[in-house]
């Protein structure tokens, strides 16, 4: 099972949408995909068409076996586990991550964690094969946050694969264009692509769906497919 941790470098980057869209795109290639919501906002389910009134998740249960009951499958076949409306502690989150290892899936399966932006990734029990994607947008604050992150990454013995991916990219903006050119050529760990800013992502969520299903001809969909393909190549290494 390949584990992917997706987190925004700060709040509001759109990490949950990315998790949902990525999960559906990966599912298209006929492998098992599991999405786990570690964020207390518990909004991952809404992207998968979960009823708004269904507010319970793994955080409401004391054991993982009970939490298994909250697994749902969306219309595309993605399995997801909502967070629930109980604020979980860091230890509980870590426990959930470790428990997910016990899930019985083939080696080709993907398990994607939607991580909250305020918890530092290094607290999680990460292993060598795990991929961490830190989502950024092209602005000066993220620029500063990236460099701060790079400093911490250097000091900690990071054994996992860490990457930065740009979300909501708008080439028409001069600042975004210049910044991305700068990042592309100078920053380590920067992915060679980005996810374009596209209305359809917002509209899809409003329609309780994902961009792939609402607008398969959109550039954003193509970007998610690129992301998926790139992850496959990184996982294989």
């Amino acid at each position: 099972m390949q584990r992917i941790f997706i987190k925004g470098i700060k709040g509001g980057i759109g990490s949950t949408s990315v998790v949902a869209n990525l999960a559906c795109v990966l599912k298209k290639s006929d492998v098992d995909v599991v999405a786990i919501d570690l964020d207390v906002k518990s909004d991952l389910g809404l992207h998968f068409g979960l009823k708004w009134t269904a507010t319970k998740g793994w955080s409401n249960e004391s054991t993982f076996d009970d939490a298994l009951l909250h697994f749902r499958k969306d219309s595309d076949g993605v399995l997801f586990l909502p967070h629930g409306d109980n604020e979980a502690t860091l230890d509980e989150i870590i426990a959930t991550i470790n428990n997910c290892k016990k899930l019985d899936y083939k080696e080709s399966a993907w398990i994607i964690f939607d991580c909250p932006s305020h918890i530092n990734i290094s607290h999680y029990p990460l292993e060598e094969n795990d991929i961490v994607i830190e989502l950024v947008t092209c602005d000066a604050i993220c620029h500063s946050l990236i460099y701060k992150r790079l400093q911490t990454l250097k000091s900690v013995e990071s054994s996992w694969k860490h990457f930065f991916v740009v979300n909501r990219y708008n080439a028409a903006s001069v600042l975004e264009f210049d910044l991305f050119s700068l990042w592309q050529s100078t920053l380590p760990f920067m992915a060679p692509f980005f996810i374009n800013s596209d209305e359809v992502i917002k509209e899809a969520t409003a329609n309780r769906n994902v961009a792939l299903n609402c607008a398969p001809y959109s550039v954003a969909n193509d970007d998610f497919e690129t992301l998926a393909g790139w992850l496959v190549s990184k996982a294989a290494n």
């Binding site: 390949q2 990966l26 298209k28 290639s29 006929d30 492998v31 080696e107 080709s108 000066a140 620029h143 500063s144 460099y147 600042l175 210049d178 910044l179 050119s181 700068l182 050529s185 100078t186 060679p192 692509f193 980005f194 550039v219 193509d222 970007d223 497919e225 690129t226 998926a228 393909g229 790139w230 496959v232 190549s233 996982a235 294989a236």
Partner: protein
Amino acid sequence: MNNLATKSSQILTSSDIENLARRFGGKSDDYIEIMNTQKNQKTINKYALLKEIDDALKTSKEKK
């Protein structure tokens, strides 16, 4: 592992270099995409926050 394989963005990236490499049997990895260092420096100098970060990093590097 997955039959998505290495699908790269259709719109982005070096598809023109890939076509070229395919034409004469070379490898697209051998092509060097040039980094525009002058432009990068211009960008850094243009925005004060970026400049400050850049200077701070440079001084910390020199300290090492």
